[in-house]
Symmetry: C2
Subunit: 355 residues, 2 copies
């Protein structure tokens, strides 16, 4: 018999979750009171909130047979929130988590969420961060909401609105891999070899380079792994801020759509370099061929890798992990917000409510 | 035709939500970037998270015919989170909100959530607070999660663990009214007169006294109103901290259960005064008679009024809004955590997963 959360009291379930969570020095008072207390050393706190919903953001059983684990969902919930702090040029200090779980949810699945949250924080390099508190609710479907806090370490936040004509457009991390992974999961192509329980994260290099290993094909397991457990480049955001980045956001809804948001907020146009886009698409060619897809569609339209899109003043040496992918052009009513070698890029990407 | 959220884009829905939200000075950078920036003037931030789930915490149509509005749910989501900050002796600075909405949700209902959030912040007196950001998701049922941040204004947080034998046990706000309101909603007794769209909040007195108007019967509409739109006494938490409170928590799961938590964390026993409990139950007598219930069950077992349970050193003049309801006794293995005139109080209260 599988033990379910409905068979435990709330305190019984919490007693299984807390031991799976590390505690960072930023968390001055952890779970157990009505609220936690977290350090905000420069007198400001950066905050964001993000939610994963069963059958929208993940499936317990995908068409291709893969079963999203609690570990996957906990990892992804942490990663996408850590990415929002990264995109401000800040460093995460804590997460608070709300879990809504049907009574039939296996306790082991809920324990996996805690383990995935904790592993993502640790393995992605958010060493100042830990889970400071949380909330449990019953519901008819699984909903995992994480709010994340961070510190700017005395710097100004990097906004979407600061890009200027002449700036270089650069990317850290990957784009399109998660979209390719999603396409595999939604296909009838089984994930072979099986997705490993935790992705290997290079311990030495804190910033995965945007084009690291792009010559090699990413492979099915890798793209599915990146969809399930994204790897935002958490050292890249603060590095970009220190290097003088003029604007930044994380690519969560697709490169074209998110580039359009940056362009709109800054009153400019972003022109992307087709050869750079081709290099970003190259490692997805094998998966695309298997599914009859165009890897460039994934690069331009796919979100959820949580790479960083950034603009830097021309001539700045790009920080480790960033690759130039275009340049900022003056905005004009007649200019599309995002172009590829001067031609309008279609605005494709994810909308939570649009059919 | 009712316009539904499924007919709007995410940005279209946000464009209807943002104008309904005020902005406080604590929010240094509001919605529009990957994260918000909030002031944390003493270098620390107090944080909590809480969730309301459709058909668990509220119903769109109750057995007695009442329909929970978006305004109700937004108000309650804000109020229960503001109460957690209050219970630490802190002052709220910002909320971030995640809304999970089925596509068929009327846009007006979602707008109501924003209006209710904003109204609760303003009318409960959280003048330093506003909504700093949020997230929208699709889902099969409505889930509203709020994370709240606050400032300790240089004080130490008041924990659950500081009560000492000899302390006075005191309460601010009400207990049992929300439970009575819930019982009405779950009954076949219609709410007459209709629940007003917004509860009258006394503008002059920031701390509703625990026994204000207890001589009068609260009435059906009032208890339903307090369940739907609780009124935590937000000035009482900081006032208690300034007065030297030794322990504090908000009564969200029932007086007996929450008193037991404070007793357990402090290693003491709380002995409650039966005459004080009777005074708390008196305004619920009329509703209880109508439903064939015992109002003391609501006082002892009902949560969600979000009153404050607090212990003060003996001899301290209780701050405005607090009423003495018992005293702290030495803890011992043989002593129940909560007694009423020396006899064990049954541990009743709300558990999210227990059947």
């Amino acid at each position: 018999m599988t033990l379910t959360v409905g068979e435990l009291s709330e305190s019984g379930l919490l007693a299984r979750i807390f031991p799976r969570l590390d505690r960072s020095a930023s968390v001055l008072l952890g779970p157990g009171d009505d609220a936690a207390v977290v350090a905000a050393p420069d007198g400001r706190v950066v905050v964001s909130i993000d939610t994963l919903v069963q059958d929208r953001d993940f499936r317990l059983r995908w068409p291709n047979g893969y079963a999203s684990t609690g570990y996957d969902v906990g990892w992804k919930a942490a990663a996408q929130n850590l990415s929002d702090i990264n995109a401000m040029g800040a460093v995460a200090t804590s997460l608070v988590v709300s879990l809504t779980l049907p009574a039939a949810t296996p306790v082991s699945w809920a324990e996996g969420v805690a383990e995935g949250l904790n592993a993502a924080i640790r393995e992605l390099g958010a060493t100042d961060c830990s889970v400071a508190g949380g909330d449990l609710s019953g519901g008819s479907e699984i909903v995992v909401t994480v709010a994340v806090m961070g510190t700017l370490q005395g710097r100004n936040p990097v906004l979407r609105s600061g890009a200027r004509a002449g700036d270089t457009v650069a990317l850290a991390g990957t784009v399109g891999h998660a979209a390719a992974g999603w396409a595999v999961l939604e296909s009838t192509v089984p994930t072979v070899p099986p997705v490993p329980p935790a992705p290997p994260v290079p311990p030495a290099s804190p910033v995965p380079a945007a084009d690291a290993g792009l010559a090699a094909d990413a492979g099915l397991a890798a793209v599915v792994g990146l969809f399930c457990r994204p790897r935002p480049p958490l050292a890249a955001g603060p590095a970009a801020a220190r290097a003088g980045a003029t604007a930044m956001l994380d690519v969560s809804d697709g490169l074209t759509r998110d580039a359009g948001r940056l362009a709109g907020a800054s009153g400019v146009s972003l022109d992307l370099d087709p050869s750079a886009l081709q290099r970003l698409a190259a490692p997805l060619a094998g998966t695309a061929a298997l599914l009859g897809a165009d890897p460039l569609d994934w690069v331009l339209g796919g979100g959820e890798d949580h790479g960083l899109l950034c603009t830097f003043p021309a001539g700045v040496t790009l920080p480790d992990g960033f690759t130039a992918i275009g340049s900022v052009m003056p905005g004009a009513v007649s200019t599309p917000p995002v172009t590829i070698a001067g031609s309008a890029a279609d605005a494709v990407g994810w909308d939570h409510f649009a059919v």
